[in-house]
Subunit: 234 residues, 2 copies
DNA sequence: CGAATAATTGAAAAAGATCAACGTGAGTGG
DNA sequence: CCACTCACGTTGATCTTTTTCAATTATTCG
């Protein structure tokens, strides 16, 4: 299992993309809303490879990922399944318009979640309009992730899809060591393939091909040193 | 050009997916917000094949599609472009978190838009919290469309992608005649190909293949009779 | 250690892309 | 009205990429 020597965490008060913010800034404005959410949320820890919620279950809770990583799976009627997204700390997930979850959420590593009852959030949102703003921002983040996913899938070759994936994934500070340039893959070849729309054999072969061309260097199956200069070139 | 003998329109008071709704229902609750939006919006008509906004431009306006259809294009740095979505009446679009539009919006046919200044909507949202709810619902609709797009692109063959596209598109009452089973394609083969991640030659060949297998019958390049029974089968 | 899972590799088949040529149909100007 | 043009669509031949099916090697976990 992948260990996190220095866990990279996000709290509701230290959310995604928040930097230094002065009072009166959009981020600061939401502080009260975040505190209110903090109060109704309960902490939840889950080990790696566990189901947080399953597609079709009643969508009674929404979640905030404080540390770790999540994979969102969508199952088709014919049994095939695909990976819709990988989630990193700071992301809300499970925010559904409908009564049931439209996809499943699986932990990739040990995770620390904040668990919020949907009805409680809805009630609270009446007093704190910024909560709705926060959810809107999160939906926007999800939509941008989906757009980037579509762009990746539309790449003409499996090689460029995989390179695009590695470059996007290497933005995660917890899994990419800037000094050694080593990327720790917390998902399987099959997960990557199911995300990019290819078979896992093809994904495996492309890794091989990238190594022969010195784009990457495999330390082991889950640790890969990236030659960023080469990967960013074409 | 494709004519719409009986234009299919949506107003802010007759939005997407709204059916009969009683006072006190979520839809009815938003009536005041919609009226307020109606007041600050101005009507805008555009002919077919016109730019509503271009990727990179200042995102000063958000739009509501009252009638017609829109194509959302994303241009990559390398010059390649892809179709992110097709929009139908009742959809808001151009709601950006950032200062500039992340993609372009092009009319496919003559359209009737409601045009709203972003700053005015933001101001109004302070008095009408339901406006933020409305935008959140619209983001959810956009995210679900993106999810369906990803599912389509992940299909293993070009044939199943195209069948999935035809079945989804045939849900648009303005372009699918339920009695004759004729679908009017308002987008080119290239648009479809750029949406599904294939070349337009492949899209053309699959149309041919579907005709030989009696899945479809071409009336002309833009009018196709669907054999729903066959298309839904596999 | 040993079983189960994940990853790699090979060979053959299928699917799709590419490049090139040819139709078709709507709009234009003589 | 008719030829012309231009964008769009179709089709063919060839080449490349990816999948499929099968076998083998690694790794992980109890």
């Amino acid at each position: 299992m992948v260990t996190n020597p220095v866990p990279y965490t996000r709290s509701l008060h230290n959310p995604e993309h928040s930097g230094h913010h002065t009072p009166g800034s959009p981020h600061a404005r939401m502080a009260a809303a975040r505190t209110a959410l903090e109060r109704i949320g309960c902490d939840l820890k889950k080990p790696a490879k566990n189901v947080v919620f399953r597609q079709g279950e009643n969508a009674d809770f929404i979640y905030f990922l404080q540390s770790g990583a999540i994979r969102l799976d969508y199952q088709l009627e014919n049994g095939r399944s695909l990976v819709l997204d990988f989630l990193w700390p700071g992301r809300f997930f499970g925010i559904m318009e409908d009564a049931v979850y439209a996809w499943s959420a699986i932990t990739l590593v040990d995770v620390h979640l904040k668990c919020l009852r949907r009805s409680a959030v809805q009630t609270l949102a009446r007093n704190y309009p910024d909560i709705t703003d926060l959810l809107l921002k999160q939906k926007t983040a999800a939509l941008m992730a989906a757009k980037n996913h579509i762009v990746l899938m539309s790449h003409p070759t499996a090689t460029s899809k995989l390179i695009g994936f590695l470059l996007a994934y290497s933005k995660q500070p917890e899994y990419f060591n800037q000094t050694t340039q080593v990327l720790t893959l917390i998902m399987s070849r099959k997960d990557i393939a199911d995300y990019l729309g290819m078979t896992f054999e093809t994904a495996s072969r492309i890794f091989k091909y990238l190594e022969t061309r010195n784009y990457i260097k495999k330390i082991n199956h889950r640790q890969i040193q990236l030659n960023m200069h080469m990967l960013r070139k074409p």
